[in-house]
Amino acid sequence: MESNKNFVVGIFDDEDVLIHAVENVREKGLRIHEVYSPFPVHGLDEALGYKRTRLPIASFLFGLTGTTLALFTQTWMLGYDWPMDIGGKNHASLPPFIPVTFEFTVLLSAFGMVITFLIVSNMKPYSWPRQFDLRSTDDKHVMAVDLAENGMSKDEIGRLLKQNGASEVNEKNF
């Protein structure tokens, strides 16, 4: 990770105060690095201006792969590679293939999406995250502002965060 980055870290106690603060400071032209919360805060992603995640599309495509693969495999195995006479029925008919196709669709869709999520979020069991404040998993919302991304000085940013309801403002260097 990048070294010697300087951050101003604002601590917020309440999620409603936080959302207003995010909206206000962004209006004032402050670029927020990221906000860390102990639980999902609804509306925070809109306030931060994040685009909607495309994970549902990924999940759909994985599901589609599963459906195609399962239907193709079953039809090929029982209809072409080794046709079996089971009770005089068709070698390959659609209805009995539906359960396995459905299960395989769900399996690929779920696993594909979760693995994509871990990759795009850069989550690995052996990586230690950059922690701006340890309380961000407990009860505080932590807004990190990167000095390199902003033209303002530390004091200016600190004052702005305090004005918008931050209960504490700290500095953090990595």
């Binding site: 860390y36 195995m77 089971i86 769900v106 999406m113 979020s121 989550m123 995250p129 922690q131 998993t137």
Partner: protein, 457 residues
């Protein structure tokens, strides 16, 4: 700044703050296990070891050690399989279906219920796996692997093969869903460990949390993943017991060959699953002092689901009888009369009493809000559901088409031993989970504390 509603009862009592949630739930992971916990895990391990002995004997000598005979070729093994799979259904119902319906009372019970699902499915899967006799060859028989016969593939027309796919998908997707929920909570324990100076614990829980940081962007993606997993799990959970019921419904055995089976099995599964969730949670809430998170209100809501699903099961029993008479197929009529009045009448009437009559007691508010009566009834319901599967399976088989092959089923100590084995496995796994993993979803409960917590008086 807390808001209280005058219409709904609070979901978290005791005036908890966000901080209290981390403290209360993490404390039992961090502290030394109590004597009560050692006792519980000790008993579970004894059951597991005795069961393991029976399982090893059975593996060594073959499944002839079970009490099966030529007529009753399926008995306790498949009964226990269906029973355990059914129990597993409540976890996914709570975490997925109630999430889609935005039922917030699921939040403090979903973690333990999902854990129960996973362990119950493992127990369930052990029965068909052992029934294959040569467990080590099971993968080749059950999955479409290329083999030396040319390749001779598995039969995708068979409901037993559908079961393999349904159960393994259900297990793995439930596991992923459960683990996704655990990730932010592992990070809570990691950060507390850092502050307390426990470096090894911090490392372990960091690895378990995949280096979770909790940024707004990650939370946004995380919520999207959780919603889609819930959307996928909902048809999945309904499909699993549907497919299990097709093991019977697609056959031509009288008493099995009915179209009512899929919905009837799903309702029964949720019924028994909620009963098991109650049995486990009433103990867990006492042992870990979670009375403020799992309140009487939660217990009452679960009991209401038990009344609903129990009544559906009751209607299904009556419908089966009606259709047997109305269908005018002598074999079918005989199968049902024989169930109620034949040599297995005691199993049938135990099922009727436990499943149809006993849950109706929950119409009384005093009974459904009382912990002792709920605990007793939750066990009775599970006994009843075990008998339901036993009745369906054994009574339909024991009267074969030729009277000379009529027979009875008598379990041996190895039938019983393997059932005990799964109990040992289930409770050992559950108590280990309850000690080392946070039993309540902290992140979700924290998100509702402000809106639905009781004010401090």
């Amino acid at each position: 700044m807390q808001v209280t509603s005058s219409i709904r009862e609070p979901l978290v009592t005791g005036g908890k703050t966000v901080r209290d949630v981390s403290e209360d739930i993490s404390r039992q992971v961090e502290g030394k296990p109590t004597n009560l916990w050692w006792m519980a895990i000790g008993i579970s391990l004894v059951l597991l070891l005795y069961g393991l002995y029976c399982v090893c004997m059975m593996l060594w000598h073959g499944i002839g050690m079970w009490g099966l005979n030529k007529t009753v070729g399926w008995a306790w093994d498949i009964t226990n399989f269906v029973w355990w799979v059914g129990i597993g259904h409540a976890g996914t119902l709570i975490s997925a279906i109630l999430l889609l319906f935005r039922q917030r009372w699921r939040m403090s019970i979903n973690r333990a219920a999902e854990a129960m699902t996973i362990f119950a499915v493992i127990c369930a899967a052990s029965f068909p796996a052992f029934h294959m006799g040569r467990l080590w060859l099971g993968f080749y028989w059950a999955l479409p692997f290329p083999n030396a016969f040319g390749s001779l593939w598995v039969n995708f027309n068979s409901p037993l093969l559908w079961d393999v796919f349904a159960i393994s998908t259900y297990f793995s997707v439930s596991l992923v869903f459960w683990y996704m929920g655990l990730i932010p909570d592992f990070a809570v324990i990691r950060d507390r460990a850092v502050r307390m100076g426990h470096n090894t614990r911090a490392l372990i829980y960091n690895a378990l949390s995949f280096g979770w940081q909790g940024g707004a962007k990650t939370w946004m993606r995380y919520e999207s993943v959780a919603l889609i997993l819930a959307g996928l799990s909902t048809p999945l959970v309904l499909s699993v017991h549907t497919i299990v019921s097709m093991d019977f419904a697609t056959s031509v055995i009288p008493g099995w060959h009915t179209t009512i089976f899929p919905p009837y099995f799903v309702a029964g599964a949720i019924f028994s699953g909620f009963a098991m969730v109650l049995t486990l949670l009433l103990v867990t809430r006492k042992v870990f002092k979670l009375e403020d998170y799992i309140t009487i209100y939660h217990v009452e809501l679960m009991n209401i689901i038990i009344i609903i699903t129990g009544s559906i099961v009751g209607i299904a029993y009556i419908t089966e009888f009606f259709i047997a008479w109305y269908g005018q197929v002598p074999a079918e009529q005989y199968a049902f009369i024989n169930r109620a009045t034949g040599p297995y009448w005691w199993a049938y009437w135990s099922m009727m009493t436990c499943n149809v009559i006993s849950p109706q007691l929950f119409w009384f508010k005093k009974i459904r809000t009382n912990l002792v009566s709920t605990f007793i009834l939750s066990i009775i319901v599970n006994i009843g559901m075990w008998f339901e599967r036993f009745v369906i399976i054994v009574t339909s088989l024991h009267r074969d088409y030729i009277p000379s092959s009529w027979s009875m089923f008598h379990p041996t100590m190895y039938d019983i031993g393997q059932y005990i084995f799964t109990f040992g496995l289930f409770f050992t796994a559950f108590f280990l989970f309850a000690k080392f993993f946070p039993v309540i979803n902290m992140a979700e409960v924290k998100s509702i504390v402000k809106a639905t917590s009781e004010k401090k008086h």
